[in-house]
């Protein structure tokens, strides 16, 4: 039985979204045991509001919470018993199997790196994000691909990019039931000699690795098309690209909204186009689904988007449970095995 420690205080919607999401999940057919970590008075009060099955929920008190404008290091030091610290300790001690938080991204990464061990062979953790694509992926035809690193660190050495590729492949296998996800390096050309020296060297090593389906390099235009299932890049580039996708989706949403507001005949047009536009709208909503896994640690960590509502929190908990069930850390370790010498 998987137990998930949920930082119930982070996120733009505060404890309400976290408690509502966990409460809803507790009444589903296949619930997950959730430890709600945060201000217990606030959490109990919210639990009174939302129907739930108490057998699946446990409240663990914590003092304080890292706010979005806090400096992570200073905040974690100043508040040793804040929600993300307490939740991380529960996981480190084996009282829970995975950590989920919609709170401060930097604080979540720092807490994880302080409390958890790195998987052997992995020097640097990576934050991965699912994003919408034109092409579909895996046996279920998911309209999403995975990109990493999207901002856990700035730069990446060749060995880091190799690690990211292995971690992304393992995560895509688990989440999309895709037995052999195609993985590629993001570069400025498809040829093996294109890109920064780190990319060229990572390309060479991935060609030889043998534990993942390495597709070579892809270019910028392959990102929205979804030519591969997993796109690997350094954190600075991934951050810019991901935020740009968010920007594009907001622009598209604005244009559609503009049309809807303006004229009744346009509204008719929109209605007629409903199916086509649904695909465009997926772009605007995708941040609500699932969450971004922080990969590289011996424990499962899911960073839900700050804007997560109850449904997104519930999805993030389910994703975390699935990753524990299918032994994400073990799969990554096996993917790295050829590089571990012997």
């Amino acid at each position: 039985m998987v137990r998930v420690a949920l930082d119930a205080m982070g996120g733009d919607h505060g404890a309400a979204a976290a408690v509502e999401g966990a409460a809803a999940l507790s009444r589903e057919e296949r619930p997950v045991r959730v430890l709600l970590v945060g201000d217990s008075a606030v959490i109990y009060e919210l639990l009174d509001e939302f129907p739930h099955d108490p057998a699946w929920l446990q409240v663990v008190h914590a003092e304080g919470c890292v706010a979005m404008d806090h400096k992570p290091r200073a905040a974690l030091d100043a508040m040793p018993d804040c929600s993300i610290n307490v939740a991380s300790r529960l996981v480190a001690a084996g009282d829970a199997d995975a950590l989920v938080s919609a709170g401060h991204t930097g604080a979540t990464i720092l807490a994880a790196s302080r409390h958890f061990e790195r998987i052997p062979g992995i020097r640097r953790a990576a934050l991965a994000a699912v994003y919408p694509t034109e092409q579909r992926h895996g046996p279920r035809g998911d309209p999403f691909a995975l990109m990493l690193d999207v901002g856990a660190t700035l730069n990446a050495e060749p060995e880091d990019l190799v690690g990211f590729a292995v971690m992304g492949s393992a995560y895509a296998r688990i989440i999309s039931d895709n037995t052999s996800p195609r993985v590629a390096l993001l570069s400025n050309g498809t040829e093996a000699n294109k890109g920064t020296p780190a990319i060229v060297e990572a390309h060479r090593r991935l060609r030889e690795l043998g534990t993942i389906d390495f597709h070579g390099n892809v270019e910028g235009l392959d990102i929205p098309k979804g030519t591969v299932d997993v796109v690997v890049c350094e954190g600075f580039l991934g951050n810019v690209v991901l935020k740009m996708l968010e920007g594009v989706s907001e622009v598209v949403a604005d244009l559609v909204k503009d049309s809807m507001d303006r004229k009744i005949q346009w509204r008719l047009g929109i209605a007629m186009l409903a199916k086509g536009l649904k695909q465009l709208r997926t772009l605007t909503d995708w941040k609500q689904y699932g969450g971004a896994p922080l990969l590289g640690f011996d424990k499962v960590v899911i960073k839900a988007h700050g804007r997560s509502n109850a449904r997104a929190i519930r999805n993030a908990i389910k994703v975390a449970a699935k990753a524990v069930d299918r032994d994400l850390a073990g799969q990554i370790a096996r993917g790295m095995a050829p590089l571990q010498g012997g």
Copy 2:
């Protein structure tokens, strides 16, 4: 009277688009003198097809042309009298004032760097691209912003990023009649300490420069929104970002096309939405307009997109003439002056 040397052989549409574009321009109210450089037999034959005013056109023979799959260095060495070499020599010798080519990008950059001088203070040339944005720019409300470098080189040192900022500002002033374009560095956060060491240092220097309107850092989501008029980044990043924009526009075009093909009622919907979709379609067409300036040389160089049709070629020639008229190189030199010591 500005004279433009046009490599008439490059581009996906070959000499036809180049000659048709120059021919159409020769009959306009404000023509530009164009030297059509390439296989003279082919060019004369095409001139018979397209109505033109011979007073504004001159044919200069060249032997051979760099194909898209050629290696630039080897091709330029093997064909000393190929069209891009001959056109560059005409400009270097003062027989023409600007170079326009829709041919091989790498060959154009290499030919320029072999034949032209760098502007004092500029260590590295940059390829700039206009791209569509949600917000409008300049006194004419252009729905485009400028980004550079989009691929002339991979990496950029702080002094290169400073040079790109000055060059982008000068070009935007000339092309958009924008007296004070807002220029920003692309980074993973808006704070001055965000980004790679090169970005942080360039930020510090640009704050002190005083010759351009430096807006600080912007993030990925500011690219499609168009928060600033000029986005500055290293070539690797700019290449990925620009190709991603092309990819997004192709995906949008595919979705719209899908809708149009499928059902008559969808076609009605599309017709009703014509105005709103026109904005989306701008995305798919923007590569056809103008061209990408190669900035940093004492001569004006405009790289038209490989897919350019006659209209795009004509626009690229006009842009080149405008940049010569308004002394692009001089404006860049003045922007760099505070860094030139004394």
